[in-house]
């Protein structure tokens, strides 16, 4: 229960952030969506032992977060909350893969540790990119971009509805849960049987509500399609944004930028 509670609160925060009006917010949602997808694909296409060469990619979420005024501490907190699965599965790598890859001044670094670090870095990159996308775009806009990019309309519409009614229904669920707890005295009443009744009850109410919403929609001329009164137009900024970042991703993917930089430095020093 606390988990979904805080998750909902997070949705609220993302909503608030998405209402901002920075240059990043002003970009076409399609541009941001496409670039973010390309970014994630780039990130996961790196080899499993590549850590250093992933580092330059940090630039993407970082720049967007700063320009789009997404607070860093917030992103960090979200990362931490979401990390357990990746950490849990990746954690085995150091034990299972003991090949020595590096020897840094007498300290053996095994492949397992390197790939573990790579997993964590990929995780951080892909999750922050997705969060920054929502925080600078807003869910409705992302849905709209999805439709424009070929996602079936019915799916996008459905997503919008789901999103809208999460709040209404979780409130209902919370109130029912409260009502039960008040008469349960922490002992009985929280078993499966009662739970089934409660969920059933909640489900019936939910379906009734769906019926009422559908009626409300029909009353306003709903014909199977949900339209938004916004125009999407590619501007020069959007094209620049997409091309610039895609170029950068390609660069970072092809050249090991840190490596090159290090070699240059070494040469300069030498």
């Amino acid at each position: 229960m606390p988990k979904i509670d805080t998750s909902l609160f997070e949705i609220g925060t993302l909503d608030r952030l998405a209402a901002g009006d920075t240059d990043i917010h002003a970009l076409d949602p399609r541009a941001k969506l496409v670039t973010t997808l390309a970014f994630i694909l780039t990130v996961v296409s790196f080899g499993r032992y590549e850590v250093a060469s992933l580092v330059p990619l940090l630039a993407f979420p970082l720049v967007l977060a700063i320009l789009g005024r997404v607070p860093g501490p917030y992103l960090l907190r979200k990362l931490l909350i979401a990390s357990p699965f990746a950490v849990m599965v990746g954690m085995f790598n150091p034990f299972l893969d003991q090949t020595v890859l590096l020897n840094v001044s007498g300290l053996n670094v095994t492949g397992g540790w390197v790939s573990f670090a790579a997993i964590l870095l990929r995780f951080a990159l892909s999750v922050t990119a997705a969060l920054v996308l929502i925080a600078t775009t807003g869910f409705a806009q992302v849905c709209m971009a999805l439709t424009r990019l070929g996602t079936p309309r019915i799916f996008a519409t459905q997503l919008l509805f789901l999103y809208r009614y999460i709040f209404v229904l979780t409130e209902e669920g919370l109130r029912m849960s409260r009502a039960r707890d008040l008469r349960s005295f922490g002992r009985r009443g929280t078993g499966l049987r009662i739970y089934g009744f409660m969920l059933g009850q909640l489900l019936l109410r939910t379906m009734d509500r769906a019926g009422r919403i559908h009626r409300a929609m029909l009353c306003r001329g709903f014909d199977g399609e949900v339209r938004l009164n916004r125009r999407l137009r590619w501007r020069r900024e959007d094209v620049l944004f997409v091309c610039g970042w895609l170029g950068f991703f390609a660069l970072a993917r092809v050249f090991n930028l840190p490596q090159e930089l290090g070699q240059m430095l070494l040469k300069v020093i030498a």
Partner: protein
């Protein structure tokens, strides 16, 4: 002008579980009238309203809006003419932002972008909700939600406004503001409610329903003066008349 007439003849309706919610109603509401539908819980008020724009289809009897009986074919026209405000604004505000919600109807009418925008602004201005345009509906207070729900209907410029318990859960000031707002509309208004004091303020005519029937239909003052009738309809004389 006859376009704004609402006529119901011998209307019957049963829910799928066999419950006969309306068992033979007839009335006729004229252009510009403001009519209250009152009665006990479960008398059939909400069910009746749902028939006025074809949300429910009668088992028997007819509903006419203007010169046309309500049929499959006239449905789109009727829905544009009859604007319906539901009891729970959460059922009516389903879009991501207030703006999108108010624009939903006009967009479905196929209006051009600028016309839609103008209508949305006008409708929000009428209910005093311009500043809410960008907010998501679930963040609004009860009174704000109700006002926006009315705006979503106004933006389709209906001729007839149908409201189901518009003042429920509003604080006294929000209620007063709403009543003032409704006073300002010259639409035909049909309002189902338990708030008899609002009826006194707003409606010249009252229809009393009881178990799917019409118990009485007449000038509000007369109806509220008839204690036996009120008692039969599970009603009470409004305080302003005591």
């Amino acid at each position: 002008m006859s376009h704004h007439i609402v006529e119901v003849q011998d209307l019957r309706f049963a829910y799928p579980d066999g419950n006969e919610a309306l068992s033979g109603l007839s009335f006729r509401i004229h252009h510009g009238e403001s009519v209250a539908i009152v009665g006990a819980n479960g008398a059939g008020k909400s069910t009746l309203l749902l028939h006025l724009n074809g949300c429910l289809v009668p088992k028997q009897g007819t509903v006419r809006i203007g010169d046309f009986p309500l049929t499959e074919k006239t449905l789109p026209d009727v829905r544009r003419t009859v604007g319906m405000v539901f009891q729970d604004p959460d059922d009516q505000l389903f879009m991501p932002t207030v703006y999108d919600d108010v624009a939903f109807g006009p967009l479905n009418l196929g209006l051009p972008f600028d016309e839609v925008d103008a209508r949305v602004r006008a409708a929000l201005a009428t209910v005093g909700g311009e500043h809410l345009a960008k907010r998501p509906p679930y963040r609004l207070s009860g009174g704000e939600k109700r006002a926006v729900a009315i705006a979503t209907v106004l933006s389709m410029s209906p001729n007839i406004l149908v409201l189901d318990e518009p003042t429920s859960n509003l604080d006294p000031r929000a209620r007063r503001n709403l009543i003032t707002l409704l006073h300002g509309f010259e639409h035909t208004k049909i309002i189902a409610t338990h708030d008899l004091d609002m009826v006194m303020d707003l409606c010249g005519r009252t229809i009393v329903m009881h178990r799917g029937h019409i118990l009485a239909d007449g000038p509000t003052r007369d109806i509220f003066a008839d204690d036996r009738l009120l008692d039969e309809g599970h009603l009470e004389r409004p305080l302003s008349l005591r």
